[in-house]
């Protein structure tokens, strides 16, 4: 698409430079730390799975056993102990998992020969990473098979029944209606659980638990539905929360295609400790990157609490930061589904022009990124007819600015989680609008000194000045001072800090090493 906004390339470059400078000190911190969930994710990649009778997952049991034996041991990484148990018992991964679930303590065995351990670990890396690699290839195969059959932008629908089997029904109907992407919304507050539930689940509130088994069930259903519909269906779930890397690992194993993964969402919107979040997001993104999973970042959340006109620059600033942290985790631009949203008050004169300008701005500043564009939510009301009109305008802007991933707005957004018919109406609307304006983007230009051009320039300028402030303050302090989303998050506050681990000199994590090298990340 031809650029329309005449944005100054040097200012954009400057903003990117600011992002690297802001991220650098954070990255230093990240590199010297792990967390309980990074360790558990590593275990999962190695094959740890299952749960005990109380539902405590095997990876948690292992970490807890290590910590119970001696908290200081965590600094060496937990994988060592799992591998040790495998080697000592001569068990398969499955057998060991079962034993652990039944009460076996990996710390009951003294550490064996280091070289043998490393060799065994290398085998596990090969198997684990091979499995993910093969999922990536499967995806590529299917995408090639159904080339050019998806809508552009991809039409993204959520299912949120709380029951994975009901979700499957709704998802299949959604595919029938034309969806390209199905996101299974998680149950309320799962992001605050410091473990990933096990097995298929049927009881969630406002969403369905993200579990590896649920991923598998939905993946299978969508492959079937997609084959029938003749297009690939992207499966999406949420990494964010206290278990980012673990969910990323399960997602990689079960061939998810997209994951919600934001470098700061957990901090700002879930009050998770900032150190913990930064550490977790990195490892989770390395996994996403290796698995070829597109991440969706959460800039839209800024606008659910702050004003979309006034605080537009926070969205752009966050996009630059998410991009930067993504690059640092080895993600290429084409996996960075940076978020933004159509959330202005519908009564604003020329509001459509501002939205159009901002969406176009995102497109031009992040040209290769599969931008994730979110529909109106905050100003949706019980007036479903007005809501439908707002969604129509949103669909228009999305197509006219070439967005990548289009979350369908629901006319009942202010009423309930989507009914099946709500979803149908959403897809139908989007397809009508997007086909009807198919080449509009190419057919118009913006007036050089017009409202839209001016708007984009001013948001970019505000963003840069905001990022300059953050750079001066430092990102940790900036968050602590409430510079993002009007919420103050004390550095040592929030959930999950206790799960942060300072890596020791002997920290052992061959998965991390493998990933870093595969992704071309220098240490």
């Amino acid at each position: 698409m031809q650029p329309k906004l005449h944005l100054p390339a040097d200012r954009i470059a400057h903003a990117r430079l600011l992002a690297t400078r802001i991220a650098a000190p954070v990255q230093d911190f990240i590199d010297s730390h792990s967390s309980v969930t990074v360790e558990r994710a590593t275990l999962r990649l190695a094959g740890a799975d299952g749960a005990n009778a109380d539902g405590v997952p095997v990876p948690n049991l292992v970490v807890d056993q290590v910590r119970a034996a001696d908290p200081a041991l965590l600094e060496d990484g937990v994988l060592l102990r799992y591998v040790n148990a495998l080697l000592r018992g001569g068990d398969s991964v499955e057998t060991l998992n079962r034993k652990i679930a039944e009460g076996f303590d990996v710390m009951s065995l003294p550490l064996g020969d280091r070289a043998a351990l490393e060799k065994k670990a290398a085998e596990l890396v090969e198997t684990g990473m091979g499995r993910i690699q093969s999922m990536r290839e499967q995806r590529k195969g299917k995408l090639d098979e159904h080339k050019d059959k998806n809508n552009s932008p991809l039409l993204y629908l959520i299912v949120a029944t709380g029951n994975i089997y009901e979700d499957v029904k709704q998802a299949k109907a959604a595919v029938k209606q034309g969806a390209d992407v199905i996101a299974v919304i998680r149950t309320t507050a799962q992001s605050l659980l410091d473990y990933v539930p096990f097995g298929p689940t049927t009881e969630g509130f406002g969403g369905t638990y993200a579990t590896q088994e649920n991923f598998r069930i939905m993946r299978k259903a969508l492959d079937e539905a997609g084959d029938e519909a003749g297009r690939y269906i992207y499966l999406t779930n949420y990494a964010s929360g206290l278990c980012m890397p673990e969910i990323a690992a399960s997602g990689a194993i079960e061939r998810l295609d997209m994951m919600l993964n934001d470098s700061m969402y957990g901090i700002l919107f879930r009050d998770i400790n900032m150190y913990r979040t930064f550490v977790d997001q990195k490892f989770s993104r390395m996994i996403n990157a290796f698995a070829g999973i597109i991440i969706n970042t959460g800039e839209d959340n800024y606008l659910t609490t702050s004003d979309a006109v006034e605080k537009a620059y926070t969205v752009l600033a966050s996009q630059f930061l998410n991009e930067q942290f993504g690059f640092l985790a080895g993600m290429p631009a084409k996996l960075l589904g940076l978020g933004h949203a159509f959330e202005m008050e519908p009564g604003i004169k020329n509001g459509f022009l501002y939205e159009f300008a901002q969406a176009q701005m995102a497109r031009e500043i992040f040209p290769e990124h599969p931008l994730k564009y979110m529909p109106p939510t905050k100003f949706m009301t019980g007036d479903i007819f007005k809501g439908l009109a707002m969604n129509t305008m949103f669909n228009f802007v999305s197509k006219a600015t070439g967005q990548g991933i289009h979350l369908l707005g629901m006319l009942t957004e202010a009423v309930h989680t989507p009914f099946m018919m709500d979803r149908y109406l959403a897809v139908d609307n989007a397809r009508y609008v997007m086909n009807n304006i198919a080449d509009f983007a190419e057919d118009i230009e913006f007036r050089k000194d017009g409202i839209m051009v001016k708007r984009a320039h001013s948001v970019l300028a505000e963003t840069i000045s905001f990022m300059e402030d953050i750079e001066k303050t430092g990102l940790f302090d900036a968050i602590a001072k409430g510079m993002f989303a009007d919420v103050k998050r004390p550095k040592d506050g929030g959930k999950g800090l206790e799960g942060l681990i300072k890596k020791g000199p002997a920290y052992f994590n061959p998965f991390e090493t493998y990933l870093a090298s595969a992704l071309g990340l220098g240490k």
Partner: protein, 243 residues
Amino acid sequence: MNVIRPYGDTLDDGKIQLSFTLPVADGAKGREAARKLVLSLGFLDCEVVHSAALSADFSFYVVYGKTEASIDYDSVVADEASADASMGMDEVNEYIKQKIGRKVVVVGACTGFDAHTVGIDAIMNMKGYDHHYGLERYPEMEAYNLGAQVPNEKLIDFALKVKADAILISQVVTQKDTHIHNMTEFVELLEARGLRDKFICIVGGPRIGNKLAVELGYDVGFGRGTFANDVATYIVKKMAGEL
């Protein structure tokens, strides 16, 4: 028995969306009135999710309700003449050759004051509608389309003149039940002249149902989405005594 209920996002949750106007001012009392009204329709549960003033004395409501009402799907009998397997144009012509052995004559019109010819044209004109040729194109049929605002009397005279097998009436305007008056008048005229049995009487239009048509004395009624071959199939099977 196969009992079904409306479906929101869970089987049998009974969810239904409603919207309507009440002749009262908008406000808390109006919303409560809307809620009570919906409950009085047998809804178990009702949320007024939106209200707005239409004027000082009228207000608009959007409501989501939950009902336990259900029906036995097995007992439902589809009642749309155009519903299921109709023959295609070629098949119909073949059928006429085989089972009737002469050209079938049909006369159509938009009667009374109704000037909406697009529907009857869709059924009768050469070019047809949505990739279904009209009856004029059927080699084994002779089709006369009299157009708009044809008085019932005139239509009957014409049908007699050309020895029509079937008369096709289109009725689109339904406000104040004009279509009912008009359709009734037609049948009464036919009966008064002792001609009811001479013709297959067919009526169609976007708000016409088969039930209504039969009630008013027609052989059949066709609604929205009808194509020429649906009607043709009906006519020839009826003539051949297969209906």
